[in-house]
Structure formats: structure tokens, C-alpha cells
């Protein structure tokens, strides 16, 4: 059976193969396609259900069949979602935190990678080891110390209290991604620039930075998923409503006694997921590239 599979693959359509020889690999492909479809449906169904529920009326949600399409579509849930919570403010806060952390991650990550990969220095192995530590060590280790430090300097309940640890823990991976990209920039470019009298700063701004655009996009996308959705740092360091990011804002939808307006809550979830989802769907090629590069170059 495998012999025919190879024959089909290596002999393109120009050489007509007799039908019986093609049938068996095709059956394997059909089975595979069916299996993949089933797995994808199971994987994605909860999300489709979430979205459909946000369009249902409450009666339909409580009594109706969850596998059926909504009997009537309503946008009331979205209206209630906005009046129950503070979605606009939550989204703004998440944007500020995501933007702030990403700026730090990209700039600092590039600088460190440039020092490690392009400039080079004697103890660079030690520094790489320190950065590797940050990839392995779980974020929980930082919660108590940062809480203590923040309260000592009055930094609790600020944007910065979320941005610093988010950037700090995401930063090693970005150093890693930038380093592996910088390896591909040909030495000759640097040497030519050096002969023309450019110093390390001009080379960084003139050669490394402009060439890194794609890597920057990948780094930002991959990190944004985690930062946009961060719960643990926000939940630990933020107390006031004015600074709550999306994950904390969503929690407000659980009313007293656990009474939840589910359809409105699901509408709120849909609203908060949308910005990242749009970016993801538009740029998913870059994001997938970033994820693949991050792990396969290890």
C-alpha cells in the first residue's frame, strides 16, 4: 500500500496511473480528512456556541436546544453587556498595558539580542543562561516579592505594576527570537558598514533595526496573546475599577449569589475577544511563523 502512495506522489499527473492503484491512498486521505474535520468541530464548537449564545434571547438560552441555531437573533445582549460593565474602559486599559509591555519587550529584546549576538562579549554565555531561567521559571514566584516591593514604593494599582512583570517574563523569549534572526544577517553587511566608519549605534539603527520588521511583528503578536489575556498579575496588583483590564472586567459580570446574566456575559466575551481575534485572523501567518520559529530553533 505504501509503495503505491509513493508512486502517486513521485509520479505527477503526466503519467496516467491505472485506477485501482490510486484507490487505497485516497481512502486514507478521505479518512484523514473526515477525522480532521471531526476534531476541528469538537475543538471549535465551544467557541461557535459562545458566539451563538450571545445572539440568543434569554428564554431561548434557558429552554432551547444548545445544538440548534437561535430561534431569533437579538442584539439586546450586547446592549446589556455595555450597560452592565465598563467594557470600553476595560478595553482601553488592556490596550495601554499591551502596548506598554510590547514596547518594552521589543526595544529591550532587540538591544539585548544585539549585544549578545552582534557585539558579543566575554560573559555572554552567563547572560544567556540568566535569560533562559526566565523562560523556565513560573510567574508565580514573582507575585509575593513584587507585591511587597510595589507596596513599599507605592506602585501597587498602577499600569506599571502590570507592565513590568509582563514584559520581564516575556522578554527572554523575544531575546531568543531576535538572536536567532540576527544570526541570519550577513556579517559582510556589518563589516562594510564598519569600514565606512559606522559605529555600533549607527549599525543598530541603520542595519539591524530596519531589517527586523518581520521579527518585530511576530514577537509582538505572540506576546500580545498572553499579555492581552493576562489574569494573574492584573488580579494580584490591581484593585481599583479604573485600571481593570478585560479579564478583570469580565469577572464583574458574575453578580451577587452567583447569578449571572449569561447571554449578556457571553456578549461581553465576544466584544472583548474581537480586537485580538481580528488582528489574529489578519496576521495569523506572521503569528504562526513566530510560534514555529520560537520552538523549532531550540
Amino acid at each position: 500500500m505504501t509503495g503505491t502512495a509513493t508512486a502517486v506522489r513521485s509520479a505527477p499527473r503526466t503519467s496516467p496511473l491505472p485506477r485501482p492503484r490510486r484507490r487505497r491512498p485516497d481512502r486514507f486521505k478521505v479518512l484523514t480528512a473526515i477525522l480532521v474535520t471531526v476534531i476541528v468541530i469538537v475543538q471549535v464548537y465551544p467557541l461557535a456556541w459562545l458566539f451563538l449564545t450571545s445572539l440568543r434571547t434569554e428564554e431561548d438560552f434557558v429552554t432551547g436546544n444548545p445544538f440548534a441555531l437561535p430561534s431569533s437573533i437579538t442584539f439586546d445582549n450586547y446592549v446589556r453587556a455595555f450597560s452592565l460593565g465598563n467594557l470600553g474602559l476595560n478595553i482601553l486599559n488592556s490596550l495601554i498595558v499591551t502596548l506598554g509591555a510590547n514596547v518594552l519587550i521589543v526595544i529591550l529584546g532587540m538591544m539585548a539580542a544585539y549585544a549578545l549576538q552582534v557585539l558579543g562579549f566575554r560573559f555572554s554565555g552567563v547572560v544567556r543562561g540568566l535569560f533562559l531561567l526566565g523562560i523556565i521559571v513560573p510567574v508565580q514566584i514573582a507575585l509575593v516579592p513584587l507585591f511587597v516591593d510595589y507596596s513599599a514604593v507605592g506602585a501597587l494599582d498602577t499600569y506599571l505594576s502590570m507592565i513590568i512583570p509582563l514584559a520581564g517574563f516575556a522578554f527572554p523569549l523575544s531575546v531568543y527570537l531576535f538572536s536567532s534572526f540576527f544570526e541570519y544577517i550577513p556579517r559582510e553587511m556589518y563589516e562594510a558598514a564598519s569600514i565606512d566608519g559606522a559605529g555600533p549605534y549607527r549599525i543598530f539603527l541603520g542595519i539591524t533595526l530596519p531589517l527586523s520588521t518581520n521579527t518585530i511583528v511576530s514577537v509582538v503578536l505572540v506576546n500580545s496573546i498572553f499579555i492581552w489575556n493576562d489574569f494573574i498579575f492584573a488580579n494580584t496588583f490591581v484593585l481599583s475599577d479604573g485600571l481593570k483590564t478585560i479579564p478583570l472586567g469580565l469577572q464583574n459580570y458574575i453578580g451577587a449569589m452567583g447569578n449571572v446574566d449569561w447571554t449578556a456575559t457571553f456578549a461581553a466575551v465576544c466584544v472583548t475577544v474581537t480586537p485580538l481575534l481580528l488582528v489574529f485572523l489578519i496576521l495569523n501567518r506572521a503569528m504562526i511563523y513566530g510560534l514555529e520559529a520560537g520552538a523549532s530553533k531550540g
Binding site: 509503495g3 475543538q43 513560573p138 514573582a142 507585591f147 512583570p165 449569561w262 504562526i288
Partner: protein
């Protein structure tokens, strides 16, 4: 190395990143080690007790051991779903001729959604009153007798809080493993098939050994992410009922921010770090040794 570099330029590029990294990551690690030697409620002055917290943790705290056991269970479920499921789907994808990009994108979708939203979603999937998605599905296929309150049954709660975490990131591993699988040289596989190797032989003797370095990386990623898993159990059950779904991370969080027992919480978090380092070392050793054999 650049010919025109100077010590100053290295420092200019290296110190700002190290400073932020030091404040956010390195200093807290050192502080945790330090704090774990004290008994401190955050208000009165800390009292030095040496290894007292560790002794209490390892010998006198049943909840700690329960939480450790649960964490390992959580780890196993997440690894099976993420690595097993990821490898299966990635392998199937390589056999597909169309729609690979679409499947990858759909698979990654849950990773984009916040854990709070996922917790809401699964709360509704598992619930009994009103009847949740899972119980309705079971009744629909005639297994209504299995329906139960998944999150308040002590026998099912750990699996119930682990599955969302496994589900959420499977796509990540599908994408990574798929990229590794399609990098396996076609000639190798074709040569083996010409020699009459079955699909399974091709997979186990050629494909898998070839992607082993990536497999080691993904196993380490999945294991360390699972050992630090926190959000979903915290949000869904907060460790309950009783301690049936308490993980080390949720236990540590409660000790720190509900019980304000900062010293003891630091000892637990040091333990979590040691656990992660051990896991990484173990995975590396085990998978490496097989590669040499």
C-alpha cells in the same frame, strides 16, 4: 563580533534590558528564596525561622501533598491533550492536501481567548442547572446516566479543570509540531516506503526521530506551562470542592493573598520553581537518552 564595538557600547545595549529583567524576574526569585526563610504576615516584623517553612510544608501539611498530587494529575492530562493531541492532528494535517492553513487557524483560536472567558464557557458546559452542554450531549447520545455536576463531583473535578487548559493550547503544539513534520526530508520517507515500510514504521522510525529536538522543546514548554497553570482552576473552582482541584499554584496564591502568610507562600513558590527545573531536567535526560540508544 563587530570590529568597532567597545565596552561602553556593549554596556549601553545590555544594561537597560538587564535592569528591567532584574527588577521583574531575577530580584523576585532571590527575594522569594529569602522570604521563604521567614515567618511574615506582611504587617508585623518578619521573624527568621530558617527552614521552618519547608519542614512544615513537607512534613506537616496534608493540603500541600494533595495539591502536589493534583498538580501532577493536571500535568498528565494537559500533556496528553496538548502533546498527544497536537502530534496526532499535526500528523493528520501533513496527509491533507487542502485546508491546512484553515485548520491551523481554527485550532489556534482558543489560545486567543482570555482564561476568564474560557472559565465562563466551561462553567456553562459543565453545569447541571440549567443543564449544561456536556450533560445535554450525554443525554442526547443515550448516556444520560453519566450526567453529573462535573465541577462539584470530587471524582471528576480535577479532569474538568484540566481539560480547558489542555484544550486551550493544543493548537499551539499542532502548529509547532506541524512545522517540524513538514521539514522532514521527503526523500527519506519515500525511500522507506519504497522498501515497503508501513505508515507506522515511517512515522516511528523516520519522522519522529527526525523531529525529536522539537519534541523535546515542546514537551518542556507544555510541562512548564502546565506546572504553572493557575487561571482556570482558580476561576472555575478555586480549588474546591474541598481540596479536590487545589493545585500548588492556587494553594500558594491563597496562602499569600488570602492568608497573608508570605513566608510560607514563598516556600511553596520556591518549591514550584524547583519542580519546574526538575521537570525540565528530567524530560531532557529521558528524551536525550532515548535518542542515543
Amino acid at each position: 563580533m563587530l570590529p568597532s564595538r567597545s565596552r561602553l557600547s556593549v554596556a549601553v545595549f545590555l544594561l537597560p534590558p538587564l535592569l528591567v529583567y532584574g527588577i521583574a524576574v531575577l530580584l523576585p526569585i532571590v527575594q522569594s528564596l529569602f522570604l521563604s526563610l521567614f515567618s511574615w504576615d506582611g504587617i508585623s516584623s518578619p521573624e527568621f525561622i530558617g527552614l521552618g517553612n519547608y519542614v512544615r510544608m513537607l512534613t506537616g501539611d496534608d493540603v500541600f501533598w494533595t495539591a502536589l498530587g493534583n498538580s501532577l494529575g493536571y500535568l498528565v492530562i494537559c500533556l496528553v491533550l496538548q502533546l498527544g493531541g497536537g502530534l496526532l492532528v499535526a500528523s493528520l494535517l501533513t496527509a491533507l492536501t487542502r485546508g491546512r492553513e484553515l485548520v491551523k487557524t481554527l485550532y489556534l483560536l482558543p489560545a486567543v481567548i482570555s482564561t476568564v472567558a474560557i472559565a465562563f464557557l466551561f462553567q456553562r458546559i459543565y453545569s447541571t442547572s440549567p443543564e449544561g452542554l456536556l450533560n445535554q450531549l450525554l443525554e442526547f447520545v443515550g448516556l444520560g446516566s453519566l450526567a453529573r455536576p462535573w465541577l462539584s463531583d470530587v471524582n471528576t473535578v480535577l479532569a474538568a479543570v484540566s481539560i480547558p487548559e489542555g484544550w486551550r493550547f493544543t493548537g499551539l503544539y499542532v502548529v509547532i509540531l506541524y512545522a517540524a513534520l513538514i521539514a522532514v526530508p521527503q526523500e527519506l520517507e519515500e525511500a522507506a516506503r519504497l522498501d515497503g515500510a508501513s505508515r507506522w514504521t515511517v512515522f516511528s522510525k523516520i519522522r519522529f526521530p527526525y523531529i525529536r529536538p522539537v519534541w523535546i522543546t515542546t514537551t518542556i514548554m507544555a510541562a512548564t506551562y502546565s506546572l504553572r497553570g493557575f487561571d482556570i482552576p482558580f476561576l472555575l473552582t478555586n480549588g474546591g470542592p474541598g481540596q479536590a482541584s487545589e493545585l500548588l499554584t492556587t494553594y500558594m496564591y491563597k496562602k499569600a493573598f488570602v492568608g497573608t502568610d508570605f513566608g510560607y507562600a514563598s516556600a511553596i513558590s520556591v518549591f514550584i520553581v524547583v519542580e519546574c527545573l526538575l521537570a525540565v531536567g528530567l524530560i531532557y535526560l529521558l528524551l536525550r537518552r532515548k535518542a542515543d540508544a
